[in-house]
């Protein structure tokens, strides 16, 4: 403030205080105290769809602010037609009781996928689609990377209602910089 400025009147000071108080109230609404979680989901196999969805829904249960940015085959988790038919790869998966020579046979991915689906169901584990819909309902922001939507010939309408499209790496980076926890899956 320069030396020549006239002293503000009481009314002007009162107006400034009221303005600052109003801005503070606005800040409270943004839930700025809540931790933020930012996940990048790049995989679209049945096993790898679970970690981002489980962490996102659990963080939402803690009232955290959650964003999941889906890119490449991670888009399939958000895809209305594909989310319920994600597969488990039999080839190159040493955790499965199937030798690679057998795993490479036609139809084997279907067999191992069916095996995992049965185990998930028997274990009371929610389906990928159920977890996704729960996450959307709880306010998780699911984003579909625009570049890979175009690359994989998908369409904005292919995704569940509530999924954000038209976003790219800059959006994801800003989100990660702002987050307390960042994960790449």
């Amino acid at each position: 403030m320069s030396a020549e400025s006239p002293e503000p009147t009481r009314e002007e000071l009162a107006a400034r205080v009221a303005d600052l108080e109003a801005r503070l109230d606005d800040g409270d609404d943004a839930d700025e105290d809540q931790p933020k979680l930012s996940i990048i989901a790049t995989k679209g196999t049945l096993d790898m769809a679970y970690p981002p969805l489980i962490l996102a829904t659990t963080a939402a249960a803690f009232d955290w602010d959650v964003t999941v940015f889906h890119t490449f085959w991670g888009l399939d988790i958000l895809h209305e037609e594909r989310a319920d038919s994600l597969e488990l790869s039999a080839v190159g998966n040493p955790n499965l009781p199937v030798p690679n020579a057998v795993a490479a046979l036609p139809g084997m991915d279907r067999v191992t996928t069916h095996m995992l689906e049965r185990k998930l169901d028997a274990n009371g584990t929610a389906s990928v689609a159920d977890l996704l819909e729960t996450g959307i309902e709880m306010g998780v922001e699911f984003q579909a990377c625009q570049m890979t939507i175009d690359l994989l010939d998908y369409d904005a309408d292919d995704f569940y209602d509530g999924v954000t499209v038209g976003v790219g790496a800059a959006t994801a980076l800003r989100d990660m910089a702002d987050a307390d926890v960042q994960l790449l899956v």
């Binding site: 489980i54 829904t57 803690f62």
Partner: protein
């Protein structure tokens, strides 16, 4: 312990006992107690951790009877 609402989370596994508890406590009036019944052994640690890290809820007690774990959560504020 007397509860005002009951949530049956038996047969569900992680993360659903926590997620459904969160959704049920959102509908709870301040001061009311929710009883959560679960069969997931991980729910003991998970629900305690969730209640500890979430404002407005308080874990009152956890009991074990055979395969069923019962948790009592009170809404303390909104």
């Amino acid at each position: 312990m007397d509860a005002d609402e009951t949530l049956d989370a038996t047969g569900l596994s992680c993360p659903m006992p926590v997620v459904k508890t969160k959704q049920a406590t959102d509908d709870l009036a301040v001061g009311d107690v929710l009883e959560v019944r679960a069969t997931d052994p991980g729910s003991v640690s998970d629900l305690a951790g969730w209640a500890d890290g979430t404002s407005g809820v308080e874990l009152l007690d956890q009991t074990e009877d055979g395969d069923v774990y019962t948790h009592y959560v009170r809404r303390t504020e909104r």
